[in-house]
């Protein structure tokens, strides 16, 4: 049953990514699509941390910042290829998450939220203040991936928007596939068990601190790769990517779409990325509409949009 669900989720996601461009009236929609996929990727990471393991983080933009600046700094200072810089960023984020996760994951609830928040703010401060290295608040250029030129030489001409739509779509699919695999793996079961009750999980032999740390590190790597993709496709990066509001935005997307579900997370990311674009006509009311949607979802669909709707549909069917 769970196995079938996995392939349905992946299939739906793949179909959406492949077929949506048929309805795009202009190149701008590829850009919005790519942004949705990037956001969805970091939110899928949060689904593992929040939805599976039941831990909270308000500092994941810090990892996105590390991933983004790895892509900006490594090619310039280490002469690394941008694609390798993505890997380097992911490794640095993972190690960083393991180091800070060990002590702070002993905290629970609000205390964990504040500790992770502190981490995010630290990263953002370093990026802002180390002007000589990062260019400070004005930001810095990011080297081109070079892959698009390579494809062009091979006779496949893609616009920047189309190219990044594809790359981000494929990476999101891989990310979703890994996350769905994790769900039914022993680790995934252990994470879900400790989510339900740490004491009960420990009693049946789950290594609670280890599984928490694993979820934290995995989600950090997701955020880092998403940050890298954003930096590469924008070609320019500022410390905003590591800002507190970006962390909050990620958690909001996860909670809105349904924090336990990979598809739901993607859905949440899509809505929160699209809303500001749809609402430019009444830009003054954007925050108002966003807040209202959040409050209504929390009151009437506390599981998040997608799981609640799915449950309602299923309930009617039976």
């Amino acid at each position: 049953m769970a196995g079938r669900n996995k392939w349905i989720s992946l299939g739906v996601l793949a179909l959406l990514i492949a077929l949506l461009p048929l309805f795009f009236p202009s190149g701008y929609y590829y850009r919005v699509g790519a942004l949705i996929f990037v956001n969805a990727l970091s939110v899928v990471g949060l689904v593992i941390l929040i939805g599976y393991a039941g831990q909270i983080s308000l500092g994941h933009a810090g990892f996105a910042g590390i991933g983004a600046y790895a892509c900006a700094l490594a090619p310039e200072h280490l002469g690394l290829h941008p694609a390798l810089a993505v890997l380097l960023g992911a490794v640095v984020s993972g190690v960083m998450a393991a180091l800070i996760g060990k002590p702070i994951l002993r905290l629970k609830g609000y205390y964990l939220a504040v500790a992770t928040l502190g981490f995010g703010i630290l990263v953002s401060m370093v990026l802002t203040n180390e002007r000589a290295l990062t260019g400070g608040p004005d930001g810095m250029n990011v080297a081109d991936l070079g892959l698009r030129d390579l494809l062009r030489d091979m006779g496949w001409r893609l616009s920047g928007g189309e190219f990044w739509y594809m790359i981000c779509g494929v990476v999101l699919l891989i990310g979703a596939w890994l996350a769905l695999n994790l769900f039914d793996s022993p680790s995934g079961r252990a994470m879900r068990a400790l989510h339900g009750s740490e004491v009960a999980a420990a009693t049946v032999g789950v290594d609670v601190p280890r599984q928490k740390l694993r979820a934290f590190v995995i989600s950090a790597v997701y955020a880092s790769v998403a940050g890298s993709l954003l930096a590469l496709q924008n070609g320019y990066i500022t410390p905003d990517v590591a800002g507190f509001m970006h962390s909050v935005e990620m958690v909001t997307m996860a909670v809105l779409g349904g924090v336990g579900s990979v598809l739901g997370a993607t859905f949440g990311a899509a809505i929160l990325t699209l809303l500001p674009q749809v609402l430019t006509v009444f830009a003054e009311y954007e925050q108002l509409v966003l807040g209202l949607v959040m409050v209504l979802v929390m009151i009437f669909l506390p599981q998040g949009l997608l799981p609640s709707i799915a449950r309602r549909l299923r309930g009617r069917g039976e």
Partner: protein, 382 residues
């Protein structure tokens, strides 16, 4: 599952409907930071352009064609700015873009404009925007380097050669600090003390005391922005400095005098634009007409004083209108760009612009006026 697919499609469809703008006009795109941390820049910029477009269309537009303005608020977020720039180019199909209130948002819009070949006039300060020169990118505000040069020129005239610097660590302060250090030597200025403060600091007495205790300092220069320079000004007065204080163009507004206090600010100097002394300009001044027309219209419409930043947007719009008029073709971005580059002697509120293939800023030091605060008001001293 079905419901989600249809919802997603419906959302995309809704986007398409909203984005379908009218054609057969001159389509101008703007993305500024009208809200968020850079709203003090973007808000007057957005208001200025909305007002000017309305005025121009009432007067019959350019060569009989009205301007269709698409204005987005990027909230100071470079990522959003890039999305809006893509939208302006791909979806709204504009022929020119004005915007980028901050250096970060400008750099994001810039690469889209360069890729797609759409002329773009930036409203941000950094020198890296136009140096090296990019084919489609222009800008209206003077660079920090020019502000430094203007200040150092004035110091030279006063016989000052050794100074102490105290700079904010915000984007503006840090950028100007670096630029000033670069050009100080060319003007025979020696920087003996180099202090910094955080944008949120409430007291700069320790740094200023260190500067005062440095032997031979003849003047203090404070590159900074927002409340920091006001606090520096007050601290300098409290400490009883007897050497002159120079501020940057970052605080060239009446609000600064109020914040620092007229007594503390008395006698300090800074480089500013003609907009600040609009009511004191001589009638035969080259900028008199432009500046008074703009300030009066803005005041009448919004009941607010103009700011230097709104002036940047005013000049960018004037440059675009002038270029389209001369290009005679409101459909071809390349022709507009070429006309823009050929701009010669256009008088704006910031200065007189003359672009060339090597210079996409087109201002010289004469655009700055050295101002002194006297009895709580601005006085032009050169």
């Amino acid at each position: 599952m079905m419901s989600k697919t249809t919802t997603a499609l419906a959302t995309f469809a809704a986007l398409g409907v909203l984005a379908g703008a009218a054609h057969a006009e001159i389509r101008l795109g703007v993305s500024v930071s009208a809200t968020g941390p850079a709203a003090f820049l973007g808000d007057p910029e957005a208001k200025t352009i909305e007002m000017l477009v309305e005025q121009l269309n009432e007067e019959g537009g350019i060569n009989g064609e009205e301007i269709a303005l698409t204005l987005y608020d990027d909230g100071g977020d470079p990522n959003k700015a890039r999305t809006f720039a893509t939208r302006l180019v791909e979806d709204d199909e504009v022929v020119a873009i004005i915007g980028g209130s901050t250096t970060g948002t400008t750099m994001s819009i810039l690469s889209v404009a360069e890729d797609e070949g759409i002329p773009f006039i930036s409203l941000a300060g950094a020198i890296s925007i136009i140096d090296p020169v990019r084919e489609f990118v222009f800008k209206t505000p003077h660079t920090d380097r020019m502000a430094c040069e203007k200040i150092f020129t004035d110091m030279q005239a006063q016989g000052i050669t050794k100074i102490g610097m105290i700079s904010g660590t915000d984007g503006f302060g840090a950028s100007m600090q670096a630029q000033c250090k670069e050009v100080a030597g060319e003007h025979g200025i020696e920087i003996l003390a180099d202090e910094t403060y955080g944008p949120q600091d409430a007291d700069m007495t320790p740094q200023l005391t260190r500067i005062r205790n440095t032997d031979g300092v003849q003047a203090v220069l404070n590159p900074g922005f927002g409340q920091g320079p006001a606090i520096v000004t007050r601290n300098v007065a409290q400490l009883g400095f007897e050497i002159p204080l120079y501020q940057s163009h970052g605080v060239a507004s009446d609000a600064f005098i109020e914040l620092a206090g007229a007594d503390a600010a008395e006698g300090l100097r800074l480089p500013g634009t003609a907009l600040l002394i609009a009511d004191k300009l001589a009638e035969d001044d080259a900028q008199y007409d432009v500046v008074t027309t703009y300030t009066e219209a803005y005041k009448a419409r919004y009941d607010q004083d103009v700011s230097t930043f709104g002036g940047y947007a005013h000049d960018a719009f004037a440059l675009i209108v002038d270029a389209i008029t001369r290009a005679g073709d409101s459909e071809d971005p390349q022709a507009i760009r070429d006309a823009l580059e050929a701009t010669d002697g256009l008088v704006g509120t910031t200065g007189t612009y003359s672009f060339s293939p090597e210079d996409h800023l087109g201002l010289d030091l004469s655009a700055f006026r050295m101002l002194e605060i006297k009895d709580g008001d601005w006085l032009a001293v050169d």
